[in-house]
Point group: C2
Chain length 191, copies 2
DNA sequence: CCTATTTCTTAAACTACTTTATTTGCCATC
DNA sequence: GATGGCAAATAAAGTAGTTTAAGAAATAGG
């Protein structure tokens, strides 16, 4: 039961479930542990689940043809992560998701997800709010990418995700900001 | 009734409403016409509504301190538009929304939006899917911003929104791609 | 504790894109 | 048919960020 406490608190931020609904919900979750560097989802594979992070830290990134990695998102405890495009449209994933540190996640398959939405309509509200917040975050990121120079993007990132940024190395941060690790090094040492 | 046909078709893409629900829903919508260049939402004002575009074309953009405009999104017939951050969090808007051509929109106030979600729980599903698609779009845009040079971003934009891009001038497209109009001119004339 | 491997730093040459300025074309209107 | 005003084109000079390469520092593994 202990491994579900965190996800239930997460749900309770937005909706109230009855004890029966709670049981139904968690009966569809499958616990998985990941070692450092282990891959949860492989780029170009079908993505048939969404994951809740209990513990640890994950990174979603796409590997381009030129060999460059672009980090789409990081997820730490209490975050949901998947390749939303692939999950929703049942397409091949455009990202890989890997554990940056030993991690523990709860897996909710697409089938179970849809069944749960059907059986517990309140979950529509929950995921509506989740998607809404994700949209707001991504839109802000797009805007900042267009409007701001690298140094400011870096400062914002550090302030917005202090605990995450402390655990990341330079290459990982650079791949999120869209700059080279060399240039990030310059930014860091010039200020 | 004619002005509601388009939004009802939009709803029907994802949910089925009863005739009573349809009446309730449209009773909360307020029709508004906009002239070319007219502003629907002013940056730094509170944003207390979401808009469905019946006809025309709108643009959401933020004006930075250095005088530069950054276009967040365009919306044409059959799209929903607002400053989602300001709408959801009840904050001051970070964008202005203006009509690029004479336009007609349906306004749904935040209060009515929340009341409708309460009275017609099926709408949670509708907006969940709307937010989900918006999230997917923005995430893809973020990734492309990081990974691709200006020329490719331009080609993708033209292909993804052919009818929109044809109606825009160079400055408007450039402000969406995050480049200067001069550089876009170069891209266009070098190929 | 030593070595191997990865991560970070630094710097010089390079490129994509910006800035500034001038010119050209394009309609709208009197 | 001239005139004003805005959108687009062009080009030269400047800048933010990349590339490449080499060395220093940190970390991990045996």
């Amino acid at each position: 039961m202990k491994e579900f406490r965190c996800v239930l608190t997460n749900l309770e931020k937005h909706i109230q479930l009855t004890p029966e609904e709670v049981n139904l919900f968690i009966s569809h979750l499958h616990h998985a542990k990941l070692q450092k560097q282990e891959t949860l989802l492989e780029q170009a594979a079908f993505c048939d689940a969404i994951y809740f992070v209990n513990e640890g830290m994950l990174r979603a990134f796409s590997l381009a043809e030129d060999g460059k990695e672009h980090t789409v998102m990081f997820a730490t405890s209490d975050w949901w992560i998947t390749d939303m495009f692939a999950f929703v449209k049942e397409q091949k994933s455009v990202v890989s998701i890997e554990a940056l540190v030993p991690s523990s996640v709860l897996r909710l398959s697409k089938l179970d997800y849809e069944e749960l939405l059907f059986q517990i309509p309140k979950l529509e509200r929950f995921f509506r709010i989740l998607m809404q917040n994700a949209y707001i975050r991504e839109q802000r990121r797009s805007m900042e990418n267009l409007a701001l120079p690298a140094k400011e993007k870096y400062e914002i990132f550090k302030n917005r995700y202090p605990e995450i940024s402390k655990q990341l190395n330079q290459k990982q941060i650079a791949s999120y900001l869209g700059i080279t690790p060399e240039f990030l090094s310059m930014i860091r040492n010039n200020s």
